[in-house]
């Protein structure tokens, strides 16, 4: 069998595949962060908590009302998105225009409160959620066994990422959004309700995180602390891609998934650090990020 650095090519192909799958989660999460930062200039440290809420919501809606996976995949982001709009309206709006550090601290505080309250109620061992029946099992690709659900994750994440990019970069609504954040007074003058637009944008960014959470529910341990670990990685992804760059966040997310996947084969101990290493190198060479506009 052909080998690269002592590792069979078949194993590497498998890891490449898994890297893309993990990258899909990174892409979804960093996309939401990039939308919120790019358009609203809010550093949303509650993003991990929103991801967690999406997953918790999916599980709890099933336990309490028997709501199935497909409905939850739509409903959980909507519920959490509405919650995000409420947060924006009552809290974030009050510090608009202040230094970035205020939004960072406020959202971080919100994240800690959400995590603490839910831990008190549900504990940390994780809630049980079964795989939807249609996704049980998988296919043999020759080089690896690919569970059906993981294949679905790639498809779902890519469709949502592309849709978001299209919405913001190519539609009229997207152009209002971009213009509204560029010069809100002028846009108000044109008769566009900018505050509403901002609420909706924050809600949409949060929805993306909750969607990733709902997508994660059948394969990862769902608990109130699940968001805190992933948040820092996702921030690193956004920084590498270039703060605020939407396409950059998606492509970097996928790339970092693959980089991390290969590190898990060649030097597993370093797999938690490798993304931060890339971040350091990128910041040294290209401080605005791989896809960011040169300042």
């Amino acid at each position: 069998m052909t080998e690269i650095l002592g590792v069979p090519v078949a194993v590497l192909s498998g890891q490449l595949m898994l890297g893309v799958i993990n990258g899909s989660f990174y892409a979804l999460l960093s996309l939401g962060l990039a939308v919120i930062f790019g358009l609203l200039k809010i550093i949303n440290f509650a993003h991990g908590a929103m991801y967690m809420l999406g997953a918790m919501c999916t599980v709890l809606m099933f336990d309490a009302f028997g709501i199935n996976y497909w409905v939850a995949l739509f409903l959980a982001p909507v519920v959490v998105g509405c919650f995000g709009i409420v947060l924006e309206y009552f809290l974030l709006r009050r510090i608009a225009g202040q230094d970035h550090i205020y939004s960072l601290l406020l959202t971080f505080g919100i994240a800690l409160i959400l995590q603490g309250v839910l831990t008190n109620i549900y504990g940390v061992s994780g809630l049980r959620y079964s795989m939807p029946e249609v996704f049980r099992g998988g296919m043999n690709l020759g080089f690896m066994f690919l569970p059906y659900y993981r294949a679905w994750v790639i498809v779902a994440a890519l469709v949502v990422c592309f849709g978001t990019w299209f919405l913001i970069e190519k539609t009229r609504l997207g152009s209002y959004l971009r213009a509204g954040t560029e010069d809100s007074q002028l846009m108000q003058g044109f008769g566009i309700n900018v505050p509403l637009l901002i609420s909706l944008t924050y809600g949409f960014g949060v929805m993306l995180a909750a969607f990733a959470g709902a997508l994660a529910a059948p394969i990862y341990s769902v608990s109130p602390v699940m968001g805190s670990n992933i948040l820092i990685v996702v921030f690193a992804v956004v920084v590498i891609g270039g703060m605020g760059s939407i396409a950059g966040a998606v492509i970097t997310g996928l790339m970092m998934g693959v980089v991390e996947g290969f590190t898990k084969v060649f030097y597993p101990e370093g797999s938690a650090a490798v993304i931060f290493l890339v971040m350091v190198v990128v910041l040294l060479i290209r401080p605005s990020g791989l896809f960011g506009k040169e300042a």
């Binding site: 940390v124 061992s125 795989m131 099992g137 990862y220 602390v225 996947g261 797999s271």
Partner: protein, 404 residues
């Protein structure tokens, strides 16, 4: 005359001194400090419900010992040895705490046991795993009550090798506890004629295990062993199920698994996994009766740690009652002299290194068909006698053993 007078005074004085050390409860209060992870990774296996178990023990004991009242204080150690040390120091030095109970993360326990030794107070460790706590880190001031990594490896690993699992792939959490467990397992596997063909150390914590599971599959090992704990273990098991690890003929062995972890996984994902435990709620009428009372208060079934906290607190209070003292060495000696026979352990005894030796159990997780209720999860397949389960004193590096 003067000589007799002097003699008499010193005799009276020493009698008073001895009396105060042996037969008096300081400030007429027995104060117990419960120190545990109340909000992090290890919250569910001990945490607030452990404090409930402690309070149940005090209530069952009658709330008073020899007329002295029993008080409880508690704190969250946040799995941080620094934070735990400052709490422990404040308790024993300024707040007259006589016993520190709970003690979960091994690093916390090792830090706190040093403070106990300096201050001459007593600690009973119920949650920690590292066997070094009564080996190189032993002190005359603490007791390790429920389990440790030695029987975990002994119970699960030797059973799996004997069933034909000759080649092993070990997936280890990359920190002190994981390394210790990996070492203990490797020793047991090799002693039983097996071979460890690959070990992979994963960062702590890791949420996505698919890459490691794929490596485990391509290693072709008979057994894939998990030397990690908590969410890392449950995540790895879920992913192994998703990727069909056991369907392709490999055996999955989780080396440290608590009832709360198995409950989180559910019988569907966890079925067939073998694990070693110090206690299980559904073993006999006694354990069931206590667990029912525990569940009434907490809404969940107790882990071995919860049961151990209850049992050890009763043992401690019995020793205080019998000696009429809350002095650490007096109580510890009395506890060592008293065999433990209750719902937690039969014929358990505390060795001079502080290890409580009792039977351990090899359990297998039931299938969804066998499991009759949410918490009906284990089949006890073998009882491992205490003498066989724990590290023998002849191999001990504990200073209390080697000095004598």
């Amino acid at each position: 005359m003067t000589i007799t007078k002097k003699l008499l005074t010193s005799a009276v004085a020493s009698a008073l001194l001895v009396g105060s050390a042996q037969a008096e409860i300081s400030d007429n209060t027995v104060k117990i400090g419960y120190l545990a992870d109340m909000s992090g990774t290890y919250r569910d296996l001990a945490g607030p419900n452990g404090q409930t178990a402690l309070e149940m023990a005090i209530a069952d004991f009658g709330g008073k010992v020899n007329g002295a009242k029993i008080e409880v204080v508690s704190a969250d150690d946040r799995n941080s040895p620094d934070s735990a040390s400052s709490t422990a120091r404040r308790w024993v030095e300024n707040e007259n705490v006589d016993l520190i109970a709970g003690l979960v993360a091994s690093s916390v326990t090792i830090a706190v046991s040093n403070i106990l030794e300096e201050s001459g107070k007593l600690g009973i460790v119920s949650g920690s795993a590292a066997s070094s706590i009564t080996n190189e880190h032993c002190t005359p001031n603490h007791i390790h009550y429920v389990y440790d990594t030695y029987p975990l490896a002994n119970g699960t690993a030797s059973a799996v090798v004997k069933e034909g699992g000759k080649t092993w792939f070990i997936l280890t959490a990359d920190y002190a506890f994981g390394h210790a467990l990996e070492g203990d397992v490797t020793r047991v596997v090799e002693e039983n004629g097996g071979e460890v063909i690959q070990t992979v150390r994963h960062p702590f914590p890791t949420s996505d295990f698919s890459s490691f599971i794929l490596q485990a599959q391509s290693s072709g090992a008979d057994v894939v062993a998990l030397a990690n704990a908590g969410a890392d273990t449950t995540n790895a098991i879920t992913t192994a199920g998703e990727f069909g690890l056991t369907q392709s003929g490999q055996t999955l062995a989780a080396l440290l698994l608590f009832l709360t972890d198995v409950h989180a996984l559910g019988a569907q994902s966890a079925q067939g996994i073998q694990l070693t435990t110090g206690w299980y709620w559904d073993m006999n009428d006694e354990t069931r009766a206590w667990s029912d009372r525990f569940m009434e208060k907490t809404g969940v079934r107790p882990t071995m740690v919860h049961a151990g906290i209850y049992s050890s607190t009763i043992q401690y209070l019995n020793a205080v009652k019998a000696t009429g003292s809350d002095d650490a060495q007096t109580v510890r000696k009395q506890m060592m002299d008293t065999p433990i026979n209750d719902m937690f352990a039969k014929n358990g005894y505390i060795r001079k290194d502080g290890r409580m030796v009792h039977d351990m159990y090899l359990a297998e997780v039931k299938t969804p068909e066998e499991s009759e209720s949410e918490w009906d999860l284990y089949d006890i397949v073998r009882t491992i006698p205490g003498e066989e389960a724990y590290r023998p004193l002849s191999e001990s590096k504990c200073k209390l053993v080697t000095q004598n």
